[in-house]
């Protein structure tokens, strides 16, 4: 019943997207394991993890599109929620190292032994338990977004001011996580992971499984976001984006609507971060860097905000280009990224998918206009100006 309610709301583009993502979850393991290494169809393990990273970014992009594309909240700090989810996963992975660390301490991660700490700080309690760590990957970003949003939206901070304080939020977290006495590994962050759920994190089987899980999470994230934006709730969100005060005069509590979207979006970003960390093998404070959050905004702009699928596509396209370009011409990448943003803003303001949808709608309108007139205006509006 709930499932059918979900599925009814997916359009053609959404089906294509889901088909591609779910097919990837099934085909990538085949391409890696069943194809001989010299076959052109063989997918090397580093490529599997690279695409897994892209898909985690795609989930982050969808979460950002939910608040930016549909509610007009331009968050320049979504990387913070992504990184918090990543840290929750990283803390679980650190606890799994156990006695295999350099100092072979049964309980404390290496950096704590190095700092001469005697016992595990309370922030780390429970992180050896996987379900707890996953709940924290959702709750930590969710709670931060809730508290931040509660104050920001209630005070009616909007537009560029809100963007600036989201940017300040992620920058403040960057500085905080850099500090050794925060207890999250300081500058070096968390790395040198060994196992996840008892499986060797370096093993190809584990990495392929992580890829497939990321693809499934991306599909699930899309379904949740799509269900939200196509419901009456989503219509209110879009109305808030377009005419906020009008929505208030209709009796809606705008701040509650924003808060729900912002919190759900932050939790989704947290899941993306939690899936990202085991595939790249490290989480450190640089994930909080404001530039990361801005890059995520560019992905969404390139793909087309307010389309969800476009956001995911933009994340994959831009990161694919980034991988290629930072390999070929490393010094050019930042200029290319800046140029891309300018070009998209000036010439492709709807983004790739948005522009494509616009063309299709125009073609449909033209077709409808060429069809014989069937319904004259009702008498009440006969005198309308042409």
């Amino acid at each position: 019943m709930i499932m059918s309610a979900f599925l009814r709301r997916i359009d053609g583009l959404g089906w294509v997207f889901l088909a591609v993502v779910l097919a990837a979850a099934l085909i990538v393991p085949v391409l890696h394991f069943a194809m001989p290494p010299d076959s052109p169809f063989h997918m090397p393990i580093h490529a599997v993890s690279l695409w897994g990273k892209y898909l985690a970014y795609a989930l982050l992009a969808i979460s950002l599109d939910l608040v930016w594309g549909y509610c007009g909240i331009l968050s320049l700090g979504h990387g913070a929620f992504f990184a918090l989810g990543g840290y929750a996963m990283g803390m679980y992975l650190m606890r799994q190292i156990g006695t295999r660390g350099v100092y072979a301490h049964p309980e404390l991660p290496d950096f704590m032994v190095f700092l001469n700490w005697k016992e595990l700080p309370f922030t780390w309690w429970g992180f050896d338990f996987f379900p707890y760590a996953m709940v924290m990957a959702l709750l930590a970003p969710g709670a931060l977004a809730f508290v931040f949003g509660w104050f920001a939206f209630r005070s009616r901070v909007t537009g560029v001011y809100l963007s600036i304080i989201t940017q300040a939020l992620t920058f403040a977290l960057l500085l905080a996580f850099f500090r050794n006495d925060m207890g999250f590994g300081g500058n070096n962050g968390l790395t040198d992971f060994k196992d996840i759920l008892g499986f060797n994190i370096q093993a190809p089987e584990t990495r392929v499984a992580l890829f497939s899980f990321t693809a499934l999470a991306l599909a699930a994230g899309y379904l949740i976001a799509r269900a939200m934006v196509t419901s009456a709730y989503g219509k209110v969100l879009i109305a808030i984006r377009d005419a906020e005060s009008r929505v208030r005069f209709l009796g809606y509590r705008v701040e509650h609507y924003k808060l729900v979207a912002f919190t759900v979006s932050a939790m989704m970003a947290g899941v993306a971060g939690a899936l990202y960390v085991p595939q790249v093998g490290i989480i450190n404070p640089s994930e909080f860097a404001p530039a990361n959050s801005i890059e995520a905004v560019i992905w969404v702009a390139v793909g087309g905000r307010g389309t969800l699928v476009g956001a995911a596509l933009g994340a994959v396209l831009v990161n694919f280009a980034k991988t290629w370009l930072t390999g070929a011409l490393p010094e050019v990448w930042l200029f290319a990224l800046g140029a891309l943003f300018i070009v998209v803003t000036l010439f492709l303001p709807r983004g790739v998918i948005g522009t494509w949808q616009h063309w299709r709608r125009q073609a449909a309108d033209k077709k409808a206009a060429n069809a014989p007139e069937k319904s004259p205006d009702s008498p009440a509006v006969e005198g309308a100006t042409p």
Binding site: S231, A232, I238, R248, F249, Y252, S378, G383, T385
Partner: protein, 261 residues
């Protein structure tokens, strides 16, 4: 509560509990500019009232005060005889049953005509209700009556942004109907409309008035005459004259204010 005002305006037979809107001695100052100056206005249940006045007379500020957008410095604003509006925000006031149509037609342009009505339709407004509630399960024919009333039945699936100016005004009135408030505040509904549309709008507002109290702010005297209701003329933030359209337009001070001295 000050019963003196009601006595002055309506005679002793009208009590506060019989009023849908009671505005008494309201003043609003913006940076030293007095937008409203001890404004008083009483509206009975089911009454229609036209508010006229030159630019800067305080017409829109008055609506802002009633709907909670602007807080007044002094004075009383009571709704339905017992609800103090000064303490409430926009959303609470809207949920009490005060609907507002803006001067510039503000419909949700990137959504269809039908979805605009859906957003306006009376019912629970919480985020949870809109995620899971009945608003997701409305059948198309629920909109038919409203769409027919405002003459947009053939446009239900069009984007509101693609409508003509007059159609947008009508859609906004349709949204007010869907919201079904006890009191409608309508700010310049016929601005930019053709004569024919203006007359249709007057007709429509009169029909709406059969079941709702209505306050209309308008410049177009032809239109106000068509409404056939009591007229209040504002000037510099307070009431200059009140009465029938003929009495008000014959009032020397009103003529003076409109023509300049």
């Amino acid at each position: 509560m000050n019963a003196g005002l009601i006595d002055r305006i309506h005679g002793p037979d009208v009590e506060l509990t019989h009023t849908i809107l009671y505005v008494d001695g309201v003043s609003v100052t913006f940076d030293g500019f007095r937008a409203l100056n001890k404004l008083s206005l009483v509206l009975k249940h089911g009454e229609m009232r036209a508010i006229i006045g030159p630019n800067g007379a305080g017409k829109t500020t008055m609506m802002d005060v009633i709907t909670g957008k602007t807080k007044c410095d002094t004075g009383d604003v009571m709704f339905d005889g017992h609800v103090d509006l000064r303490k409430l925000d926009e959303a609470s006031i809207a949920n009490l049953g005060i609907g507002r149509k803006f001067q510039k037609p503000t419909v949700f342009e990137s959504q269809t005509v039908q979805d605009n009505l859906l957003l306006a339709m009376a019912g629970p407004r919480s985020a949870r209700a809109s995620l899971f509630g009945w608003r997701n399960r409305l059948s198309d024919d629920l909109y038919d009556r409203t769409l027919e009333t405002v003459g947009l039945k053939d446009h239900r699936h069009r984007m509101a942004g693609d409508l003509s100016h007059g159609q947008k005004q009508w859609l906004e009135i349709g949204m007010l109907l869907a919201q079904d408030p006890k009191l409608l505040l309508v700010d310049e509904p016929v601005a930019g409309m053709t004569d024919h549309e203006t007359m249709e709008t007057a007709h429509l507002l009169r029909r709406i008035n059969e079941t709702h109290a209505v306050v209309v702010v308008e410049h177009d005297m032809h239109f106000v005459r068509e409404l056939g209701c009591k007229v209040t003329c504002l000037h510099e933030g307070s009431v200059l004259a009140e009465g029938t359209i003929d009495a008000v337009s014959a009032n020397e001070r009103v003529v003076e204010v409109y023509l300049g001295r």
